[in-house]
Symmetry: C2
Subunit: 221 residues, 2 copies
DNA sequence: AAAATAATTTTGATTAGTCAAACAGTAAAT
DNA sequence: ATTTACTGTTTGACTAATCAAAATTATTTT
């Protein structure tokens, strides 16, 4: 059984290269995991020796099927735990990410199965991220539109927030932009970099373009 | 923040010497933690340097107030988690000990508070072990009677099982001796070492003396 | 094409936790 | 009062994970 460090390394690769065969630079991993580049090189060679990933020196790193299986398993735990903490224990969705970060390495498959059943086998977590299946499938919605590139003046639903930081999630809550919210983009000002959204009943949300790009939407059902 | 290894060492001392000032031998710790005696000596010196316990070489080890606080905090997490897993997620009480052993090191104080509130601030866990309070008090029932030494032919309630091993807990379940069960001891045969219990409605349980000593009882309320 | 820049890998050290085996006290038995 | 047996401590070595800083390679610029 992999250590939690190993699980975190593999998860980091997966999150930055979900597609089979996609590669990640060691620099990106160092950034993501908060360690020095040298540490990444060392660990990557070690993980490659275990058959969990491939390393093409100075080019990048790619998950093997075995490594991908570990990463997806951890991600499933993470997202089911987050969902449980929010839905059952009523924790703040802005703080469950950190909690799940620890719990994902401590939960047995047996407990995971109980949690999944208790929740009724949910498909997405509170941020709108898809929950991998027990068989390792990750149902990714391809090329979703965001508030930064969707059509203007069309009613949409917020589907997913792709930044788990507490600060951003707290802004999203306060602005009324949580997943499920009904919304339309009124105006997108390239010069000022400001996006203005209509939430109905006269409520308005204003945010910057990079922030708008972190909020995925889909056509209203 | 202490590592989970440190938490386990301190918990092991506490469980073997709950009374303030009681001491534990390094040998007993090696046995309990499944490491070699030399490892214990090394770690104990390290923990003593951190002010978490006192070491009297060749005599024994004693928790300091700081060490005791850590140990009790971990025990509170352990027992609340066990209770949650059994009551809410309906896991088998014989298997939750191992699960809690991992989770007790991964749960934040915030999540713990939510679990405690969700359960309505329970006083004992599924094995009848007292749950320490958030203030660090451990309400220990002193000198409880067991099936090995209680009076005969008196109706009693099973209060606590002091062996967390899966095998024993499974026997207890199958024999109908879980905490709360109404019971009286019919006969205690010193020569054969057998204890026979009446569970009412003609049901009988038979067990050995050492096993009977692991089942605490109290007078029926 | 050479020089400058940026990214990656190597190297040598460090910390936490562990073991095996040698060593040293303590206590019991002769 | 020695010897024996037991328990506890030291010592030297090892693994996982990490860092700082030097060395290397690839990529741009000029």
């Amino acid at each position: 059984m992999p250590t939690s460090t190993v699980e975190n390394y593999l998860k980091a690769v997966f999150l930055r290269a979900p597609g089979t065969g996609a590669t990640v630079s060691t620099g990106a991993m160092a950034e993501a995991l908060g360690v020095t580049p040298g540490t990444i090189t060392t660990m990557v060679k070690h993980l490659a020796a275990q058959g969990l990933l491939e390393h093409n020196p100075r080019a990048g790193v790619r998950l093997t099927p075995a490594g991908r299986a570990v990463a997806v398993g951890v991600l499933r735990k993470h997202r089911l735990v987050e969902t449980f903490l929010v839905r059952v224990l009523e924790m703040d969705w802005a703080e469950v990410h950190a909690e799940a970060e620890a719990l994902e390495h401590a939960i047995s498959d047996r407990l995971l199965a109980r949690i999944d059943a208790y929740l009724g086998h949910p498909k997405v977590d509170p941020h709108g991220d898809p929950i991998p299946t027990a068989q390792g499938k990750v149902p990714e919605a391809e090329k979703a539109a965001t508030l930064a590139d969707c059509p203007l003046k069309k009613w949409l639903r917020v589907a997913r927030i792709t930044d788990q930081s507490t600060a951003f999630l707290e802004f999203v809550t306060q602005a009324g932009l949580k997943p499920g919210a009904r919304i339309q983009v009124r105006q997108r000002e390239a010069a000022s970099g400001v996006v203005r959204c209509d939430l109905g009943r006269g409520r308005l949300a204003v945010l910057g373009l990079p922030e708008a790009a972190k909020i995925q939407v889909r056509a209203e059902a």
